[in-house]
């Protein structure tokens, strides 16, 4: 076991991915396949008067033009799953309003171009703060009677809903949700503090920018079963959502989670209802592959946010009070938003004496809000960690020491009202402090600086199960329903190998579809390894019991006196009395065999969280003439519980840091004043490409999670959280002036330097 866990190994899917052998959802051959092309709204807010379909239907090869009324929907709400095409009211520019379905992709595109949609424009709600004012125009005029889209919230993060709203506050109907958390006398705490800082921070809509655009293929089997082959983060959640939207029995829907070309929170039953609706309406297989521009315009990016934040400390650096008013632009998502998460996470992994934290979820005519790696956390950390640096500056304290002085430890009660479980905040900050870059920060050339920041993610939980099966050749197959996101399958392989006693190379992992897989929730919330991992351990242990029972009879040794090491069952203390796993398995798996198959099923239902903390150093250079910021070097330290496969862990740490650099410097979905998207392609929307990403040092900190598999915890989301703030703190030092809006583009930095 010792040489199984903690060893850097390539991902199981790496050879196939690198050689192009992986078959993604857009690649499968389906006989008689039709191709759908969405027609996207050009108006941000309008009533649809009607369609002129004549020219479209005249295109050779076009089979049908489908609008909302043509899809066999159950009418369960106005969320994107229940209403994949705008029914009467367009609520954002880019919303799908019709599908053109044709025998070829080219015919579908020709037809889509010719479709005429007659809009009656309505007043667009674009400014999220103005949208909150009593009397503001509403972003959606049709009443939303029975919206169950909130179910999707359950797959992201473990976040409470806070206390009762402030009934006295006058707000417009665009404010869909208010979350309030109060404790202690905030005003008194501010008054008794030695330093008080406050500011307003703004962050834009940010696109998940997965490599593989959203795609889905759907068809009906002759038996009537609907089969959905798709790029999704969760097969069971997609099955549930499709069954709800189309009023189908669960057993009539089979969802196949194909290999995922990236998701980052964005792939949850968004395009599936379009392909499914068309396939059900036309009774033929239908594929929908979004183009990149469609994916930019029509999907569900991270919310824009406005955060008013005020924090204070005593002269010795003890944090006293925090007050936040956080406005989350949900766009058209009436089901859920991150106002609860962001107004919780804004307190950071720190102790406070008093807090008053408010979150507002506001609808506008921009996109549909969706999850993005650590939803609501990078925006919260950008505000908090910026102000912590300001406090450190005012009090002349070392920024890391300030944070260390206040970092939570197990048992400290957070702003949620619950005590923190085991958490490695102190360990991570101490490790970061030891990095040579921190010591070098005061001896850098003019225009360069190092900034630091921390961030955390609480993790999430959902019951899960797994199956382990040993074949006659002695190899093991682990079966789960988990979409293989961020390399979780490769993690299951070493978990199963360690728990069973096989070399990891002899374990493969299969993502089965909803017809046959054991249950697990969607890949999200940093919960897969933490919740499915223990199920894999128990499944492997159950299989091991079958192995030992059979081997005990063969070797005439009690099961309790046997051990399994590297694929060999042997007597403890007498290793020459042994059989290979293959020998035992082959005796079980044959006609007339006397032993049960070497298989096991295991489940888990975690009830304790395992938050992960990550802290960053970012070394930047600011060009004072042009405003350009170059990240020269970046360091990330993260508590991962236990690094089951350090290569994958470091990949998550680097990936999070890179996306955080994107938030900090490059990424913004920008609309014009009328609500039309200006940055709807990679010609306009910048991401941190390889040439802009510096060397990233990864410092793995291991504070074992008591209930995690071999001590591991979910690590996917924490690394993005503090990265934008670290870059912002570095820019503030290098430029001598702070920016309160992301991204810190050259024009904005230049403007800040001038004023």
């Amino acid at each position: 076991m010792s040489d199984t866990l903690g060893v850097a190994r390539p991902r199981l899917d790496a050879p196939e991915k690198v050689t192009g052998a992986t078959r993604f959802a857009a690649d499968g051959y389906v006989h008689g396949l039709l191709h759908a092309r969405p027609v996207l709204a050009t108006e941000p807010h309008a009533r649809i008067r009607g369609f002129d379909t004549d020219a479209t239907l005249a295109v050779p090869g076009v089979v049908a033009v489908l609008s909302a009324a043509d899809l066999p929907l159950a009418g369960t709400g106005t969320d994107r799953t229940s209403e994949p095409l705008a029914r009467e009211e367009v609520v954002f520019a880019g919303q799908p309003v019709a599908l053109v379905v044709a025998e070829t992709e080219a015919a579908a595109e020709d037809g889509a171009e010719l479709l005429v949609v007659d809009y009656e424009p309505l007043e667009a709600v674009v400014d999220v703060e103005a949208a909150m004012e009593p009397g503001a125009a509403l972003a959606r005029t049709v009443e939303d009677s029975d919206d169950e889209g909130g179910d999707l919230e359950s797959v992201h993060g473990q976040v409470d809903k806070g206390q009762e709203d402030d009934a006295g506050e006058q707000l417009s109907g665009n404010v869909l949700d208010r979350v309030t958390r109060e404790q202690g006398d905030v005003a008194a705490a501010f008054a008794a503090s030695d330093a008080v800082v406050e500011a307003t921070f703004r962050t834009p809509w940010v696109y998940q920018a997965y490599i593989e655009p959203q795609v889905c293929t759907a068809w009906l089997e002759p038996s009537g079963t609907l089969v959905v082959s798709t790029s999704t983060q969760g097969s069971f959640v997609t099955r549930r959502e499709l069954a709800r939207a189309f009023d189908l029995p669960l057993d009539r829907v089979r969802v196949i989670a194909e290999p995922l070309g990236g998701a980052f929170g964005g792939k949850f039953a968004l395009v599936e209802p379009l392909a499914v609706g068309a396939a059900l309406a036309l009774q033929r297989p239908v594929r929908l592959v979004l183009t990149r521009s469609e994916d930019f315009a029509a999907t569900n990016p991270a919310s824009a946010q406005v955060t008013h934040l005020k924090v204070a400390a005593r002269a010795d650096g003890t944090l006293t009070a925090i007050e936040a008013r956080m406005i989350v632009d949900r766009g058209t998502n009436a089901g859920w938003g991150v106002e609860g998460a962001t107004s919780l996470l804004v307190a950071g992994p720190y102790r406070w004496q008093a807090h008053d934290l408010r979150g507002y979820g506001v609808q506008t005519n921009r996109f549909t809000f969706g999850a993005y790696r650590a939803p609501g956390a990078p925006t919260a950390a950008f505000a908090l960690e910026s102000l912590l640096d300001e406090l450190a500056r005012e009090l002349d304290l070392d920024p890391i020491e300030l944070r260390l002085k206040n970092a939570v430890v197990e048992g400290d009660v957070g702003v949620s009202g619950n005590p923190f479980p085991t958490i490695g905040a102190v360990e991570v900050l101490e490790r970061l402090r030891e990095h040579p870059l921190w010591a070098q920060r005061n001896s850098l050339p003019d225009g360069e600086a190092v900034g630091m920041a921390a961030g955390h993610w609480p993790g999430a939980m959902e019951p899960a199960s797994a199956v382990c099966r040993v074949d006659a050749d002695g190899t093991m197959t682990v079966v789960t329903s988990v979409a293989d996101m961020s390399g979780v399958n490769s993690g299951f392989a070493v978990i199963a190998a360690a728990a069973f006693g096989l070399p990891p190379e002899q374990v493969r992992v299969v993502t089965a579809d909803t017809a046959s897989a054991p249950y697990a929730g969607a890949s999200g919330g940093s919960k897969v390894t933490y919740t499915v991992g223990p199920a894999v351990i128990r499944a492997a242990e159950a299989a091991r019991e079958k192995l030992l029972a059979a081997a005990a009879q063969e070797l005439e040794i009690a099961p309790g006196d046997l051990e399994v090491v590297d694929g060999v069952v042997r007597a403890v203390g007498a290793p020459d009395r042994s059989m290979t796993v293959q020998e035992v398995a082959s005796k079980a798996l044959r006609f007339g065999g006397r032993y049960e198959p070497i298989e096991g099923h295991g489940g888990s239902a975690q009830t304790s969280g395992a938050p992960s903390v990550a802290a960053h150093l970012s070394h930047v250079r600011v060009d004072r003439q042009t405003g350009e910021v170059t990240v020269l070097r970046h360091v990330i330290a993260q508590d991962v519980g236990r690094a089951l496969n350090p290569a994958l862990v470091e990949g998550q740490m680097r990936g999070g840091a890179v996306q955080g650099i994107g938030w900090a410097l490059f990424e913004q979905l920008d609309h014009d004043e009328d609500g039309r998207l200006l940055t709807g392609s990679f010609l306009d929307y910048a991401i941190p490409t390889a040439e802009r990403v510096p060397e990233i040092d990864t410092l793995i900190v291991e504070v074992p999670a008591p209930d995690g598999p071999f001590g591991a915890k979910g690590i996917g989301e924490a690394p993005v959280v503090g990265a934008p703030a670290a870059v912002a703190n570095a820019v503030a030092r290098a430029a001598g002036t702070r920016l309160y809006e992301l991204p810190m583009t050259p024009p904005r930095v230049w403007q800040a330097l001038r004023s």
């Binding site: 992709e105 920008d670 910048a686």
Partner: protein, 262 residues
């Protein structure tokens, strides 16, 4: 992302190309790095695409005090041309090195870039600073046209629809000259937010800028009076300041190269 229906023909020689291009709404294609993207967006929908990529209009040659660049010469071929490494014309190779990525530089051509007339395209600024001239052919005959007279607006030139560029002639600056290109790129597109090419000769200096106006232009004065383009990402005020910075940077680098060339 699928172009509208179009026909395709490959020209066997220059006369054949001109004959094919007589068709209204036809379009010449060489490297396709500008035309194909706009066709995929259906902004351009030519009835006929005339492939001129096999014509003998490629290469860099120094003769009679000029450097002649074939319009089909790719960015990578420019980067590799010896005469464009030397200080007087170093701006050309320097500029080409910063264009697109390797795939774009393997296919994209200098002639296609100039006639596409993207207002933020890099190379036209270099050709303006160096005083380059285009040689044009049409069924009616031949003519010469200064690059400064060819570029009149965004994606707009004074070329006739049936004219093809057959040569780009760059006067060889005198001994003791140097040239350079400097730019600040849009972080997504890589096009210049502001770019500047400079030529420093013993007789004088010239600077041309791109990315900041309706078309690249030769600088006269300090840009205070120039009409500068702005958008939500980079307001005009910023681009004006940036143009000054890159102009200074290009000019300093050109002067440094001129010293080496003495």
């Amino acid at each position: 992302m699928i172009p509208a229906e179009t026909r395709y023909a490959r020209a066997s020689d220059l006369d054949h190309a001109l004959e094919l291009l007589a068709e209204p709404d036809s379009k010449a294609i060489a490297g396709g790095q500008s035309l194909i993207p706009v066709m995929k967006l259906r902004i351009a929908r030519p009835s006929l695409v005339v492939d001129i990529s096999r014509l003998d209009l490629r290469g860099v040659e120094e003769r009679d005090g000029e450097v002649h660049v074939g319009p089909l010469t790719t960015w990578n071929e420019l980067i590799g041309a010896e005469v464009l490494q030397r200080p007087p014309l170093a701006a050309v190779a320097e500029c080409a090195r910063g264009i697109g990525d390797l795939q774009v530089r393997n296919l994209g051509t200098i002639g296609g870039s100039v006639v596409h007339a993207d207002p933020a395209s890099d190379m036209p600024a270099v050709l303006l600073a160096l005083g380059a001239r285009l040689r044009l052919r049409s069924p009616e005959g031949e003519r010469a046209l200064a690059v400064s007279d060819a570029l009149v607006g965004p994606f707009t030139t004074t070329l006739e629809p049936d004219e093809l560029v057959t040569d780009i002639a760059i006067p060889m600056p005198p001994h003791g000259s140097g040239s350079a290109y400097a730019s600040v790129e849009h972080p997504a597109s890589g096009f210049a937010l502001a770019g500047a090419a400079a030529l420093a000769t013993p007789d004088g200096e010239s600077v041309a800028v791109t990315g900041v106006g309706l078309t690249p232009f030769v600088l006269s004065g300090d840009l205070s009076d120039a009409e500068i383009f702005g958008d939500r990402f980079a307001p005009a005020e910023y681009r004006r300041a940036l143009a000054r910075v890159v102009a200074d940077r290009a000019l300093s680098a050109a002067r440094e190269r001129a010293k080496v060339n003495r």
